[in-house]
């Protein structure tokens, strides 16, 4: 029979790290709150009959947020055999607030005090035996990141325990809760506390509550009048009193609490004036080093020597030697190796980027970025919480978009899901690196600019959309716990890098392989008295189909069928843009070092057209997988269609303005396109500065209704 252990604790208390330690799994661990959005399930190491359920991080079981609802519903409905309550030893008082609620659920609890290494480092001492006696449950010291105390915790959990005794409230409050329990006929004190807080969540569980509503109101109001406070505040104060009562003697500080190293770093890094410039410099350095300097040497070697020369030449010779047909030889060399190889060639740059991002995440800096961005985002009506999905989206937009579900406000959630894919994901990095290397000869500014273009697109879209009736409204308050800085752990950094890189490599071997083979066939087969291979790719099916809509992109400077085909293939996966170019331009004769493949590409673009192409592919509709994720988060097809249409029109307009204004400046000449571009630019400026629309009353009521019932 399966025993179930639930893992519950505050956000960023180390739950996901402990989950990985207990189960041996390799779930992603982010050094910012909200990594666990829904419950995860694993099996306890060496105990396959014990299931561990990792719940989202919550500060309480009152259902203010989606995470709290998920955690509370699971604990009440599934009733696990035991709860491991992981608490951050460096923030014990605040973490024990949740503990006071868990102890009332009627489920055995084992408390794991995490980050004990930091507790000692800060000069704090914890008497776990005394704390255990005071709380009436086992308390185990652990350090999830270092793996210490995990065996003791496992033993404590497997030993099995009885339901903990209830901690006492003040006599007056005990009397009030006892009266509520008697009136509604329940023996569960936590339910009584929720009734006291007037939490409507308990109503379906207590059908009789409607009949005794007046009696309950009388009990609650009497207490509110006596303390001149509201019920929720009274309940919170009572719980903090419980915490205060159990801590004396068990938790002491042996040194005067002074500013920690993290505090000193934060004084600079989150400084009102320095924070954004520091963030800009950091991200510039990350993209510059990963794409333009160190990364480019390895990628050049991979592209030019391995996939540009060694592999295709040897495979071509081998296929000829064994006597394969010419078309098959070309399919394998030009289609598969040319296409997939072009994508894989950028893996070194990608790995380097992921290493840097993992270092920033694990050190604690990225959590500060969400805090820093809160100031910027708040100006246009979003909170820093919207930036966390964008941080996650730097690996892949799909989890980034899905992470938007942590945002409670429905309109902000939709806006975040729509704009998350503007931030370059790993797949887009291949496109960025290709354009940067092949056309701009590795110019220092191209790769970093792509990231800042993504950020600017998020901010511009936020300002524009927030002024519309659909998205208007004040930003939700953003409360976030900043984890202390620590040296990045090599194992965490390398695993994060490998997980993300492997995802990229797997896509290259599956969906990109299928896409490049399809592109090769479509580019080499045309209609000449029936379907047959063509000598000139301009006569192919791909040229016919892409050429028929290439006029749409002509005002952007790249209205060729090849560029159109590459852009369309990006809907399958963004790496496919690179793969398609690899297939289409790999057909040309290649020099010994393979450089002519990208030379052909460079010859088909001007500098302005190349950057316009990059802009469009960065900002337009994401791949089908990401569109599917948007569909899941939006909840209906019309919103999804709106999101995709907005992204595509926005991308086209930005690329159009850039290219036409750029041409006008370069040639010092104005034509009809220039005037249209200036009109479009004026339109965007107007959308940015116009007065925000007031939400219609009906829309507001509907929105509030949907949020209340969600």
């Amino acid at each position: 029979m399966t025993r179930t252990i639930a893992l519950a604790g505050n956000p960023n208390s180390g739950k996901s790290t402990l989950f990985n330690r207990l189960t041996g799994s390799k779930q992603s661990v982010g050094n910012w709150p909200g990594v666990t959005l829904e419950r995860k399930v694993g099996r306890l190491r060496q105990h396959p009959d014990v299931a561990i359920v990792d719940l989202p991080g919550v500060y309480s079981l009152s259902a203010y947020t989606l995470e709290e609802r998920v955690a509370r519903d699971y604990l009440l409905d599934a009733k696990p055999d035991c709860i491991i309550n992981i608490v951050d030893g460096t923030n014990l008082e605040r973490n024990l607030f949740l503990t006071t609620q868990l102890l009332e659920l009627g489920i055995p609890v084992v408390i794991a005090v995490n980050m004990m290494d930091l507790v000692r480092h800060q000069g704090l001492t914890l008497d776990t035996s005394l704390l255990s006696r005071n709380l009436g449950v086992p308390v185990v010291e652990i350090s999830a990141s270092h793996g210490s105390g995990i065996d003791h915790l496992t033993d404590a959990v497997l030993r099995g325990h009885t339901v903990p005794a209830l901690l006492p409230y003040t006599p007056e409050h005990e009397a009030a809760l006892a009266a509520i329990m008697q009136v509604v006929g329940t023996s569960n004190r936590w339910i009584a506390t929720q009734v006291f807080e007037r939490d409507e969540f308990v109503n379906p569980r207590l059908p009789q509550i409607a009949r005794v509503q007046e009696q309950l109101e009388s009990i609650i109001t009497r207490r509110e009048d006596a303390l001149d406070d509201d019920a929720i505040s009274i309940m919170a104060a009572e719980r903090y009193t419980q915490v205060t009562n159990v801590l004396p003697g068990s938790f002491t500080s042996t040194s005067a609490r002074s500013l920690t190293l993290s505090d000193h770093i934060d004084q600079i890094v989150t400084n009102r004036w320095l924070a954004l410039p520091i963030f800009a410099v950091v991200m510039f350095a990350v993209y510059y080093i990963a794409v333009t300097t160190v990364g480019t040497y390895v990628t050049d070697y991979t592209n030019d020597v391995i996939f540009g020369n060694f592999v295709p030449n040897h495979v071509a010779v081998w296929l000829s030697d064994i006597g394969t047909a010419e078309w098959l030889n070309r399919l394998v060399v030009e289609g598969i190796i040319g296409g997939v190889g072009a994508v894989l060639g950028f893996v070194p740059q990608l790995m380097l980027l992921f290493i840097f991002l993992a270092i920033l995440e694990d050190s604690g800096y990225m959590a500060r970025v969400a805090f820093i961005m809160d100031r910027a985002f708040r100006h246009f009506g979003l909170s820093g919480k919207s930036f966390i999905p964008m941080l996650i989206g730097t690996g892949c937009s799909v989890p980034g978009i899905m992470a938007s579900r942590t945002i409670e406000n429905e309109r902000d959630r939709k806006l975040t899901a729509m704009t998350t894919s503007f931030i370059p994901c790993g797949a887009k990095l291949a496109v960025i690196a290709l354009i940067s290397g092949a056309i701009f000869q590795g110019a220092w500014w191209v790769a970093p600019s792509a990231y800042f273009v993504g950020m600017a697109a998020v901010i511009l879209s936020g300002i524009i959309l927030k002024k519309s009736v659909l998205f208007s409204g004040d930003p939700a308050p953003f409360v976030m716990e900043l984890p202390p800085y620590h040296a990045p752990r090599p194992s965490v950094v390398l695993r994060s890098m490998w997980d993300r890189s492997w995802a990229f490599i797997r896509r290259a071997g599956t969906i990109i392989l299928l896409a490049t083979m399809t592109i090769w066939f479509l580019a080499n087969v045309g209609w000449q008295h029936g379907p047959r291979f063509v000598d000139d790719l301009d006569n192919s099916f791909l040229a016919a189909v892409s050429g028929s809509i290439a006029w749409i992109f002509a005002p952007l400077g790249w209205g060729t069928w090849q560029s159109t085909a590459a852009t369309l293939s990006g809907l399958v996966a963004k790496e496919s843009v690179v793969g398609t170019f690899g297939v289409l331009y790999g057909v040309a004769d290649v020099s010994d070092d393979g450089a002519e493949v990208w030379g052909q590409l460079a010859a088909s673009f001007t500098v302005l057209a190349a950057y316009s192409f990059l802009l469009f592919n960065l900002l337009c509709a994401p791949c089908f997988a990401a569109i599917g994720a948007i569909r899941r988060e939006m909840g209906n097809g019309r919103w999804t269609a709106f999101a995709v249409a907005y992204q595509t029109v926005f991308a086209w307009t930005i690329s159009f303005i850039f290219y036409q204004v750029g041409i006008a400046i370069r040639d010092r000449a104005v034509d009809g396109w220039t005037i249209l571009a200036v009109v479009a630019l004026a339109g965007i400026v107007w959308l940015l500065v116009k007065k925000p629309a007031r939400p219609r009353r009906a829309a507001v009521v509907a929105s509030i209704g949907s949020e209340a019932t969600a």
Partner: protein
């Protein structure tokens, strides 16, 4: 001729296996286009883990009802 048939057959098998794996992923609720669940912080939203979790809840619920 034989080499062409053999290499073509190998490619067809590879393509078939890729399509099959994508269909299986889609049926199990996973995203076809993204790179996989390892390392994904929201894996439980679309992966088999969610089903596993739901199964555990279903197993637990009757037992809890019996207890009560």
């Amino acid at each position: 001729m034989i080499a062409t048939v053999v290499i073509s057959a190998m490619l067809i098998v590879i393509v078939g296996m890729i399509v099959r794996s994508m269909v299986l992923k889609a049926r199990s609720g996973q995203s076809v286009g993204c790179g996989g669940c390892s390392g994904c912080s929201v894996a439980s939203c679309c992966s088999r883990a969610e089903k596993d979790s739901a199964q555990i809840i279903q197993i637990q619920m009757p037992r809890q009802r019996q207890r009560s």
